[in-house]
């Protein structure tokens, strides 16, 4: 169905629409955190989302990631692009099917206002945060750390260290018997997305 912009944004506070529509947000990783962050940022009407991942969708991803059974085997960035387009045509999407590293991160994400760390592995989180703080120390980066398991919602918090923000419980590691699942991953991803909004609106309003 073709939709006009006015009706898509009719539930929004009119004052913040231009702020959101002018914003560019980067997402590194399109798994549990990344796909959920992208869904929320698309629904709120962020102007442009730049996202990257090299991985393909596996059946085990469906317990927490915003993909569907018929997309198994597909590239995550391509599948995410399809799904986001079903939500809204009022966000521009820039997918990169690539493995991120110290060299390509500054090039791919040079135009973003805010960066979202959405990797699975701790060493990738560290690599991205260090690359970001070295290259773009004046731009906020919002990372997720500690989200495996279930329950214990009150342990999940956010923390600020200069331009680095951490969302999560900062303690529950992925180990045998404690895997990441939709509710807690979704909570942390949406804390990250919520913080993106807060920082954008505070900065421009």
């Amino acid at each position: 169905m073709k939709m006009n912009k006015e009706s898509f944004f009719s539930a929004h506070d009119p004052e913040i629409i231009p702020i959101l529509q002018n914003a560019v947000v980067g997402i590194a990783g399109c798994g549990g955190l990344g796909s959920n962050v992208a869904f929320s940022l698309t629904r709120v009407g962020i102007g442009k989302i730049i996202f990257a991942d090299f991985d393909k969708i596996e059946p085990s991803n469906l317990n927490r990631q915003q993909f569907f059974t018929e997309q198994i085997g597909k590239s995550k960035v391509i599948a995410l692009l399809e799904n986001l387009r079903k939500i809204s045509s009022f966000t521009k999407y820039q997918p990169h099917e690539v493995k991120l590293h110290e060299k390509n991160i500054p090039l791919i994400y040079k135009d973003v206002d805010i960066m979202v760390e959405a990797f699975d592995k701790a060493e990738m989180k560290k690599m991205l945060i260090e690359t970001w703080l070295t290259t773009f120390s004046n731009k906020p980066i919002i990372a997720g750390s500690g989200l495996a398991g279930f329950g214990e919602t009150s342990k999940i918090h956010q923390k600020k260290i200069d331009n680095l923000y951490i969302c999560g419980d900062e303690e529950s590691d992925v180990k045998e018997g404690i895997s990441p699942m939709a509710p807690r991953v979704g909570i942390v991803a949406n804390m990250q997305a919520n913080l993106v909004l807060e920082l954008l609106i505070k900065k421009f309003k």
């Binding site: 560290k126 750390s145 680095l164 992925v174």
Partner: protein, 68 residues
């Protein structure tokens, strides 16, 4: 009075030639994936043995955990 440094908002005694490695030892931090900032400056792993903090330094150690 003893000079202090702050590590993750907790005050500990400062020592002469106190490196990041020494701070992690004093704090009993055994985590592997860390991001360390001293007075706002990022200190990379290869410098943990040689970067010496000054008295009253503000040290932040962030422990990164897999899962996403």
């Amino acid at each position: 009075m003893k000079k202090k440094i702050t590590v993750n908002k907790q005050e500990i005694d400062w020592e002469e030639n106190m490196t990041i490695t020494r701070i992690l030892e004093v704090m009993n931090y055994t985590f592997k994936m860390l991001v360390v900032k001293v007075d706002g400056k990022l200190i990379k792993k290869q410098d943990y043995d040689r970067f010496v903090v000054s008295a009253h330094a503000d040290v932040k150690v962030i422990h990164l955990i897999s899962g996403g």
